[in-house]
């Protein structure tokens, strides 16, 4: 309880009332709230150290560069990346996946190659591959999921043929929270010679991620889903692969020398970071990574899992509530429907009680179709949530049933 209070106190946005009620934030899968240390790191940079990086010889530029690169090292440490230069700063997981699609896949894939994804992917791990398929003649294959929200392992194995050039899979589903056995999936993919791309947007804010142990080729994260700022994320890529790849955007910072006859690329990771990056965002994300390290994934997992058990039990007890894809291995996402009440109406009625959840298709329309739905309600947990938050959720759901059910 004391720990909970300390955590809650470090998130200033949670200290407010909405519609006269205490804010209950259950939409962390969309974006997490930001701890004071992250907000301070961003402000401090702008108030004291604001300068462009990798160029100036003046003091501010040196400070900004040092903090930017320190953030890269901190994130590399958090994700278990063997070398900091294997971390490329991007806008978020979406851009990270697009980078792999355009800079690795597009020049290499040919007609008949296959890209294997799963039915539970976010649109950001579907559409970049559809673009590559159009550009190269490759074919998109989709591994189905089972009713309990887990991946159909037999189907996945069957689909893994030597034609598969890329396997792109979410570590954790954004819509239903399923944790995929990612290490095993990557091992199987490697046996057929496929490159592995993991969408880790929903994982790194909840559970220990070790890219070295998973042994994936690429791993994408979004800062804002792990207590960092929006507009910043990272792509981890194995050094050998990054070395082989050409840049995907041209501009400043990604070159060693430029003439009109020939331009020589900068080293990894800079050749993938054209233009002035989101310096404040990277520094903020570094602070978020440090915040997570200090808190420890073990205590985060324990807290969120206890809450998940409580949340599932509480919601299941409500007549008319059905959980969707409630896999045993889940980060703390409770997807549900309320019989007779449209998810948007549930969302509006909950908001009236200060409870924030996500409603809709969650950028995973194929997954919704899989469950025969157009929309669901999604309550997603984080370290700052409590059993009182779940109780407020349940009370709002009951209100929606009373009004419209």
């Amino acid at each position: 309880m004391v720990l909970e209070q300390i955590i809650a106190d470090s998130f200033p946005a949670l200290q407010q009332t909405i519609n006269g009620k205490r804010l209950v934030y259950l939409d962390s899968a969309a974006t997490t709230q930001k701890p004071q240390c992250v907000i301070d790191a961003v402000s401090h940079y702008y108030e004291h150290d604001n300068a462009n990086i990798h160029r100036g010889v003046h003091t501010l530029s040196q400070r900004a560069t040092q903090q930017f690169e320190q953030a890269r090292a901190t994130i590399a440490g958090l994700l278990g990346a063997p070398r900091p230069e294997e971390i490329i700063f991007v806008r978020g997981a979406t851009e990270a996946i697009n980078l792999v699609a355009q800079a690795w896949a597009r020049p290499r894939l040919v007609q008949g190659d296959e890209i294997l994804i799963t039915e539970m992917e976010h649109h950001s791990n579907i559409v970049p591959w559809q673009l590559v398929c159009e550009q190269t003649g490759a074919v998109l294959k989709v591994a189905p999921i089972l009713d309990d929200g887990t991946l159909d392992m037999n189907a996945y194995k069957d689909l893994l043929t030597p034609d598969v050039a890329i396997v792109a899979i979410a570590h954790v589903s954004n819509a239903i929270g399923t944790i995929n056995p990612i290490k095993e999936l990557c091992e199987l993919a490697k046996k057929v010679g496929a490159i592995t791309v993991v969408d880790g947007a929903q994982a790194a804010g909840h559970m220990h991620v070790d890219v070295n142990d998973i042994d994936c080729d690429f791993y994408a994260i979004s800062g804002h889903k792990m207590f960092g700022p929006t507009g910043i994320g990272c792509l981890f890529g194995k050094h050998t692969l990054l070395e082989e790849m050409d840049p995907w955007q041209g501009g400043g910072d990604m070159i060693l020398s430029v003439s009109f006859e020939e331009t020589i690329w900068n080293d990894v990771p800079f050749k993938f970071e054209a233009g002035t990056p989101n310096i404040a965002g990277a520094i903020g994300l570094g602070a978020a990574a440090q915040f997570i390290e200090e808190l420890g994934y073990d205590s985060m997992v324990q807290h969120e899992q206890e809450l998940l058990v409580y949340g599932r039990a509480t919601l299941t007890a409500i007549d008319g509530v059905e959980l969707i894809g409630a896999a045993p291995q889940n980060v703390g996402v409770i997807a549900f429907t309320v019989n007779g009440v449209h998810p948007h109406d549930v969302g509006t009625i909950l908001d009236n009680s200060g409870v924030a959840i996500r409603t809709g298709n969650h950028c995973a329309q194929p997954l919704m179709k899989r469950f025969g739905l157009t929309a669901t309600c999604r309550a997603s947990l984080s370290i700052y949530n409590t059993t009182e938050d779940i109780d407020a959720l349940a009370s709002g759901i009951n209100e929606s049933i009373r009004l419209l059910g």
């Binding site: 449209h342 109406d345 509006t348 409603t359 298709n361 919704m368 157009t374 929309a375 419209l404």
Partner: protein, 146 residues
Amino acid sequence: MANLRDLYFEMVTDHAKNPRNRGKADPCDYIGTGHNPLCGDKIVVTVSTESDTITNVKFDGEGCAISTASADLMAEVLVGKSVAEAKELFRGFHSLVVGEGDASELPRKLAVFSGVREFPMRVKCATLAWHTVIAALDDSEKVTTE
């Protein structure tokens, strides 16, 4: 902050739970399909006319309470109106729900939707059927609230 009951209660919940105008207008002189990508809702609106007068409006599809009630009440108020009057009503209704106009020029039944202005994220729900019917009358193939 409007009391939530102002928005949902009585007329909206009544029409959402028991819509009077669900179905297909026969003869079907105009048909429109509306889609709200935000929530995946789809609505099909069909219209019968005699010369320039709307004689019947029906809707079908799945939607939230606000979009269903709005479609149902829209179907009621449009009967007897000309196409030009329907468009004028939509302009007034749209102003009402986005908070730019009041309900004084509108049929009393539509006034209940003034509560929607307190919920800007739900304006699309309230206007989906209207966008759809206007597009149908304009002979557009497909509409979306995006």
